[in-house]
């Protein structure tokens, strides 16, 4: 009889000490990539860091389930590797042998994901909870897409250029016409004088230097 009770006690205590194991149904695997994220400024992963992790997670559970006082002891960690991965499970403060449901844990982590990341100076990519996909930030949608602005500027410049090119000869023509009408009035008086000075011509040099072969 005594032996049976002893065996039962041993079994139950053994079971009670193993809520956390790899592939636990209510547990999550965590993977940290500290050296990738921080390079030379990477900190060493040790017991203290693990304590911080458990405390942060307890904080996340507290924030999500208002009222329930989660403590560091409620976060059980196991199966640590040199890669810095481990499994954890969360026990309920009301019932130390019972595990908190997976879904509840996931919601809690999603809510406080930012806080958890910043406690370790990591990001969604370097502090991974296997199975919990991070919610991506919404893309910034400006009212006017930036390309349209640049397009507008260039289009305006080109349009202005075309208008200038098309209008400027017309403006020049008008100016010439105005000048010519002025000259006509002057010329009728001067004609008599001009006819007398036919000998004084000006030798035009512009065509005499033309070479047969145009050089490059």
């Amino acid at each position: 009889m005594l032996e049976k009770i002893l065996i039962l006690l041993c079994l139950s205590s053994a079971l009670a000490e193993q809520p956390c194991k790899p592939d636990a149904s209510d547990g999550y695997k965590v993977r940290l990539s500290i050296k990738t994220a921080l390079g030379d400024e990477a900190y060493v992963w040790n017991e203290n860091e693990m304590f911080l992790f458990r405390a942060t997670l307890a904080f996340a559970m507290r924030s999500h389930l208002n009222g329930q006082e989660f403590d560091v002891s409620n976060i059980i960690v196991c199966d640590e590797t040199p890669r810095v991965t481990f499994w954890f499970v969360v026990t309920s403060p009301l019932n130390t042998s019972g595990l908190v449901d997976k879904g509840v844990v996931e919601e809690a982590i999603r809510m406080s994901r930012n806080r958890i990341n910043s406690a370790f100076l990591l990001t969604d990519k370097t502090l991974e909870f296997i199975g919990i996909t991070p919610t991506l930030t919404a893309p910034v949608n400006p009212d006017t897409p930036p390309w349209l602005i640049v397009f507008g500027v260039v289009m305006g410049a080109v349009g202005a250029g075309i208008i200038v090119v098309l209008v400027s000869p017309l403006v020049l023509k008008k100016r010439k016409k105005n000048e010519e009408t002025d000259e006509d009035e002057e010329e009728t008086g001067v004609k008599a004088v001009e006819n007398g000075s036919t000998r004084e011509g000006v030798y035009n040099m512009s065509f005499s230097d033309d070479e047969r072969l145009t050089q490059m």
Partner: protein, 562 residues
């Protein structure tokens, strides 16, 4: 200066720059490097240079001579040579028209990319997030972000040429802008074109030089350059190499479109075009080689980055570190392969499980992905640029260069259409501005068809089949006409009249024998290819599978000669 006089270039330099601007185009940047890679790197230069001297320079010389002598556009010039041959000129004009329709859409795409470079993160660097905010858009995940940006956001491509939709407004706006700028450049004819070419001919070289320095200093660039220049001499025995070299020289110089005749028709009668022809052809080929060095430096960089990312992503991180839970800094880039072996021997079972997921990261295969055309310019290059530091600056520079190259070629193309039209009595009474405006408007309206979802397929069809065949035919007729119908002796006399000396025996042999023979060979080769190839096919973008082959009945544009 009476009104009937033909306008002229302000000085011979403008003419040379115009020819350079026209000949040096997108093909130098995106076709020549591909051919180089395909046909054994440095070894390809041998057939290329041989063809340049056998075919390229003589034909270029020929077209310039005709244009300068006749001082008329292509239709008028050929009619003057023989009244029965006006059709050759008409064929040139029609081919130029086809080219104008679809060529400016490339400039529209360059504008689109240029305007989108003014953002803090280049839009083709990351996949956009789907509506649930759970991850990137599926279509983008299956392809790469650069491919997604080009095929979905730029083109909004449909799944086949029959499936259609509305016009993509952004594309249409960019196309309108491209045509407005083209109009602005040619509005006063030679007077405005002459000033513009100072910029469009020279600035691309500035950018190429900057990119050369940037490219050579990139990590892994030397891999690409080594890959390109290692000659594979056995490729010289392959006839395709020689045919591709001949074809590349032929199309790169822009022969047969009538643009060279048009440009030369605005020359002074005694302009020394012989020297200019040689100079422009050499500049064109030199630019191709220069551009391919830059392209391969960038290729090498992109391939190295992809290779290292592959190693980092899959081998190091996902599989080794995560599967075997080793400490983070235990595996570095150099020790990866040793670790793979060690783990394979110590944990054979576990390793066998993940062995199929171990992606084969191979630098050679990354370099082997030879790409040409729009795929190179808009996808491969964009991918390389987004990995560079200060990527927005490099992106802006690169697309400005593409724009200048494309716009420079457009100047020649539109001039080839407008110049012959001006020679007709009806249109010569219209002002320059009006005629140019009408031509640009016409091409713009028809070109809007390329901005529809199936537009890229139409573009591919025009690009691959629209001009190639006709051009070979046109230039063949040109060279046979001048050599045998007009007569080499008469042609010699004309050149002596213009230049003061007769052309060398070399030119005469090229015109009468070598070039026609080469062109006939190319022509026969293309015909055989067409017959063997059956119904032409095109690659379609399938949303699920990314690429699928579709086939279509092609409408090959025929040009007529009398």
């Amino acid at each position: 200066m009476d009104k009937g006089a033909r306008p002229n270039w302000d000085n011979p330099m403008q003419f040379v720059l115009a020819c350079v601007s026209y000949a040096v185009g997108l093909g130098n940047v995106w076709r020549f490097p591909y051919l180089c890679q395909l046909h054994g790197g440095g070894g390809f230069l041998i057939p290329y240079l041989i063809m340049l001297f056998l075919e390229g320079v003589p034909l270029f010389y020929l077209e310039l001579a005709i244009g300068q002598k006749m001082s008329l556009g292509s239709i008028g010039a050929w009619t003057a040579i023989s009244p029965y041959l006006g059709g050759v000129g008409l064929a040139s004009v029609v081919t130029s028209l086809y080219l104008c329709l679809y060529y400016n859409i490339i400039n529209a795409w360059s504008f689109w990319y240029l305007f989108h470079s003014f953002q803090s993160v280049l839009p083709w660097a990351d996949c956009p997030i789907n509506s649930n905010r759970t991850g990137p858009i599926e279509e983008c995940e299956r392809a790469t972000p650069t491919q997604y940006f080009f095929y979905r956001e730029t083109l909004d491509i449909s799944s086949s040429i029959e499936v259609n939709g509305g016009i993509h407004t952004g594309q249409a706006l960019c196309l309108v802008l491209a045509w407005l700028i083209t109009y602005l450049f040619i509005v006063r004819g030679v007077k405005s074109t002459g000033k513009v070419v100072y910029f469009t001919a020279t600035f691309p070289y500035v950018v190429l030089f900057i990119y050369l320095i940037r490219g050579m200093t990139l990590h892994g660039a030397i891999n690409g350059v080594k890959y390109m220049f290692t000659p594979k001499m056995e490729q010289l025995a392959n006839p395709t190499t020689w045919i591709n070299a001949a074809t590349q020289i032929f199309f790169s110089l822009g022969l047969g479109f009538g643009s060279l005749i048009a440009f030369a028709s605005y020359n002074q009668y005694n302009n020394n075009f012989e020297r200019q022809a040689i100079i422009v052809s050499l500049i064109n080929s030199g630019t191709s080689i220069f551009a391919s060095i830059v392209t391969f430096a960038i290729y090498g960089f992109k391939a190295t980055v992809n290779y290292e990312n592959c190693l980092e992503r899959f081998v190091t991180r996902l599989l080794l570190l995560n599967a075997f839970s080793l400490a983070e800094d235990s595996i570095t880039m150099d020790t990866v392969f040793d670790w793979i072996e060690k783990l394979n021997t110590t944990y054979p079972q576990q390793f066998a499980e993940i062995a199929d997921k171990l992606e084969n990261c191979d630098l050679e295969s990354e370099l082997d992905t030879a790409v040409e055309g729009t795929g190179l310019a808009f996808i491969v290059y964009s991918e390389a640029i987004m990995n560079m530091p200060l990527s927005q600056l490099w992106s802006v520079l690169y697309f400005i260069m593409l724009l200048l190259l494309g716009m420079g070629s457009m100047l020649g193309n539109v001039t080839a259409i407008v110049t012959p039209l001006r020679d007709f009595k009806i249109t010569s009474r219209m002002s320059n501005e009006l005629l140019n405006g009408l031509v640009c408007l016409f091409c713009l309206l028809l070109g809007l068809g390329f901005t529809t979802p199936s537009g890229n397929y139409w573009f591919t069809m025009f690009n691959d089949y629209g001009a190639t065949f006709s051009l070979l035919f046109i230039v063949l007729i040109e060279v046979i006409t001048v050599s045998y119908i007009y007569g080499i002796k008469r042609f010699e006399k004309d050149i002596e009249d213009m230049l003061g000396h007769r052309p060398n025996w070399y030119w005469k042999i090229m015109w009468s024998v070598t070039s026609p023979v080469l062109l006939i060979a190319l022509f026969i080769f293309y015909i055989i290819n067409y017959i063997k190839g059956g119904t032409p096919t095109y690659q379609a973008w399938n949303k699920e599978l990314r690429y699928a082959l579709g086939s279509m009945l092609v409408y090959v544009a025929k040009t007529t000669t009398f």
